[in-house]
């Protein structure tokens, strides 16, 4: 027998492995695609987790209102969230506008409020600014 020849079992084996590799590859990508459909926003103030919102399940606009300390209003709509009003000085949080993507983050430093869209599938791990 020529040594270059593969047995039937070998060929089936190689095909199977390639298929499994392809399957896992698709699964990996599929999993991340599923994550993208899952937009979860977290609102944290002074270290306390105030609210977790599934942005895709929001039907009518909702408001998260902080009356104490630095007054703030956060507006939640389907697929997006933003600081609407804030009593802080620079209003960077309000200027930041809508958050729509996983990993996006709006922060109000004076009020110690953080709004994040959490998830694994991010464009970058962190940003320098």
């Amino acid at each position: 027998m020529n040594i270059r020849v593969l047995k039937k079992g070998d060929i089936i084996l190689i095909l199977c492995i390639l298929m499994i590799a392809g399957l896992i590859f698709i699964m990996n990508n599929f999993a991340s695609a599923a994550n993208n459909n899952n937009l979860i926003a977290e609102v944290v103030r002074e270290g306390n987790l105030i609210k977790i919102i599934d942005l895709n399940k929001v039907k009518n606009p909702e408001y998260v209102i902080f009356d104490e300390g630095i007054k703030q209003v956060i507006l939640v709509e389907k697929g997006r969230i933003r600081f609407l009003e804030s009593d802080c000085r620079d209003k960077f949080c309000v200027k930041g506008g809508w958050l729509t993507k996983t990993g996006a983050k709006a922060v109000c430093i004076p009020a110690k409020t953080i709004v994040t869209i959490v998830g694994d599938q991010k464009q970058t791990d962190s940003n320098t600014f």
């Binding site: 039937k8 079992g9 084996l13 896992i24 000085r89 200027k95 506008g97 430093i109 962190s126 320098t128």
Partner: protein
Amino acid sequence: MKKIIYVLSILIVLILLTSCSISTGKSYKADGFALGTIITQEVYGRDARQVSVEAMDKLKFLEDLMTINDLDSDSSKLSMNAGKGYVELNPETISVLKSARKISDLSDGAAFDITVAPVVKAWGIGTDNPQIPSEETLKKLVPLINYQDVQIDEASNKASLAKPGQMIDLGGIAKGYAGDVLREIYQKNGIKSGLINLGGNVIAVGSKPDGSPWSIGIQNPRSETGGIVGIIQVSDKAVVTSGDYQRYFEKDGKRYCHIIDPHTGYPADSGLMSVTIITSSSTDADGLAKAFVLGLDKGMDLVKKYNQSYSPADAIFITTDKKIFVTPGLHDNFKLEDESHEYTCIKKG
């Protein structure tokens, strides 16, 4: 044929079992506030949570030493005793002062100088009432700027400011210094993978748990929503940016940014919108990012000089005409990722 199927099914089960048993491992993410900014930590490894808490405590400790808002802080003590001789300070503060000295020396004080504080105060950028100081005021204050007047007596942990009226502002180096301190805390605790973001200063500890580098976004200086212009991949590096957009005020259509040119006493206006430095030391990266004051050519020279005399450093300069200049070490690394489609990338030799 039966045998083949039998063996293959075992193999498939084995492979799938492997896939399931591979877990994400222990990781901990934490947001917090210190040094007047937001701190984000992502820690992988055993004791991830304790390490992040230890890091946060350390940051608060450093903040107490370096803040200018508290009269009891080391930084205030030094400023209040300007021209009155040495004051005893925490060894940690002495260490910060030494680092500041080293960075100032690189540019002979042209880019970075902690004694710029009196002028910073006169402008009040970032406070409730920023203003343009009068010529006379600046004429009086600018001569007070001289980093060499910060005298350090390491042996007895003492320091002094030579002339009355001089003040220091460690705001330009505190975050950078803290980054190195935090990395040490991580490493001391055996953390091999972590990502720290100190209000925009990114410190990548090791690489991602899966061995790939961290991808770090470079902010678009004119995006109010925190959009990015590009991405770089780094492991074990600090990535620090200085820009005209971080704190500024506008008057009569002109933008006055918070970074003061130590030579003129005016906010830096050098044709740059931001400078990003990538190097091992976070402190040095923070200091080098002040090359922002110098403009493109002199700034690039400063980075080159650091490269030759200390350790490898790379930089990304973004000019006001929306051109992005990257140093050779980043030619293959920097990826333009610009949603605004306004920027062009120029690879500089």
